[in-house]
């Protein structure tokens, strides 16, 4: 066998997608319903009092933030669950005893989780169009940004799944860290609306750079420059890949 073990990548990728398929209905219904609720609550109730932010209608302004919020949590949950479950049930023995490299394992698991996360992202995008007219200034950049976000957060979720030793640990980061950071990171408002010192403090929240960058692909402007957003994603990708590389080299929480 030379090069990549493509059969293994394909097997794991479709095994994982099959797992998603078993819960397809809830998997697709949840983003549609959540998006609709956000529009009812934020778009309807708050949007009626706050018509525009930076010249953008409020209902349209929150669309990128909603997509990001869903993709962050979906990516982390999918990827962490994908690798945590075999650890939990013991079936990881087969993966560890197979002629599969770390790179192939990551491509397959992260690829599958990112695929689902992207599907959810596009469903929210489509649902949003039922409520509001959203124009996308840079469609290609939007898709590229979504792909990069899905991969980065799935890599992060994969690390979490290897690290976690209980279901509680699996949930604590996405629910207690990522979700609040997203809400405070400008998913539903512009950080320019904040008074000092909160505005400066908010700039230490890395999520700000991601949401701002994604909003740039929609409206051509964000809270911070697009270059900062891209730098942040590059940094996150590098750090996650480094940690995963170390985990596989040492067998951290995978091998005894």
């Amino acid at each position: 066998m030379s090069g990549l073990n493509l059969h293994a990548i394909k097997s794991i990728y479709f095994f994982e997608l099959n797992r998603f398929r078993r819960t397809l209905l809830t998997g697709l219904m949840v983003p549609v319903i959540t998006t609709s609720l956000y529009f009812v609550v934020f778009g309807g109730a708050i949007g009626s009092r706050m018509t525009q932010i930076d010249g953008i209608p409020y209902a349209a302004f929150i669309v990128p933030g909603m997509i990001m919020l869903a993709m962050f949590t979906e990516s982390i949950f999918n990827a962490s669950f994908g690798i945590y479950m075999p650890k939990f049930t013991g079936t990881i023995y087969e993966l560890l005893s197979a002629p599969v490299s770390a790179v192939e394992t990551v491509i397959a698991y992260v690829g599958a989780a990112a695929t689902k996360s992207l599907i959810v992202g596009f469903i929210i995008f489509a649902t949003a169009h039922l409520f509001v007219d959203v124009q996308v200034a840079h469609p290609l950049a939007m898709v590229a940004f979504m792909v990069l976000i899905a991969i980065s957060f799935c890599l992060f979720g994969f690390i979490l799944g290897i690290w976690a030793q209980s279901f509680e640990q699996l949930q604590v980061i996405p629910l207690l860290v990522i979700m609040p950071m997203t809400f405070l990171g400008g998913a539903f408002y512009s950080i320019h609306m904040l008074a000092e010192p909160w505005r400066t403090i908010t700039l230490f929240n890395p999520i700000v750079y991601l949401i701002s960058g994604f909003r740039w692909t929609f409206f051509g402007r964000g809270d911070v420059g697009i270059e900062f957003s891209l730098l942040f994603i590059a940094g996150m990708l590098t750090i996650c890949l480094g940690i995963i590389g170390w985990m596989f080299r040492t067998g951290y929480r995978l091998k005894k």
Partner: protein, 310 residues
Amino acid sequence: MASIITVSGLTKSYASGHVALKHVDLEIEEGEIFALLGPNGAGKTTMISIICGNVNLSGGTVTVAGHDIVHDYRGSRSAIGLVPQELFTDAFERVIDTVTFSRGLFGKPRNDAFIEKVLRDLSLWDKRHSKILELSGGMKRRVMIAKALSHEPRVLFLDEPTAGVDVELRRDMWQLVRELRETGVTIILTTHYIEEAEEMADRVGVINKGELILVEEKTALMKKLGKKTLTIVLADPLDTVPAELAGWDVTLKADGQEIEYIFDTQAERTGVSSLLRTLGDLGIAYKDLNTQQSSLEDIFVSLVHREKAA
């Protein structure tokens, strides 16, 4: 016969300081059934787990089919099928899907005909569309064997294949292992049932406290098994063995109170009646007779105890 697995100086120690394997050397020959015997915690599963890639080694080398398990893990792992002791399964998967998945995972292109053959050989074909959670424990074990065989391995590791399995299923499993060997697969099984090793193995290795303390052909062991010891308790002790008894393999035991005679039960003449007759002729009176057969279990127990004493 050529070696398919070579284990040299294999050592495993944990951060806690526990040493699970101490410099183990072992050669497994292609096509044989090798039984690794030992009490719980002896290091059997650790050794298998290292060879298969589930546990990192601390020292030494292992090659499988000529491939080093660390530097050329793709080559070594491609040659191995592993059936762990516990029933680790994806409960919601269908039998045929999980077996097909395993073949792909090991880098083999899809081959429905081969998967069908494996499932038929293991009497799983009728259950191929069942979810694994619907199967009995014995059938789940078969699914795990099917997964391990799905990529046509040259070596099959069966870790405690009959632990917690009832007698009938155990016999089924033994039959299955024999049939697998007919296909040319080398089989290494761990067990703590002596009977299992006696029943199936070509060679037996005994491991205790991380050390391989014996590796022997089962037939050689069976020869030892075939021996019986006749103990003759004398009425009066003897100082030496009378010259007339030189024709028998006898020794004096218990300060001359007993004569011990080791004989082969398989032989045409055991020499027991002639020995007793000669004793009568010599006027040596005895008050009791006792025969004892040595079993693999005796050998095992004495080896393990000797280790404990050391």
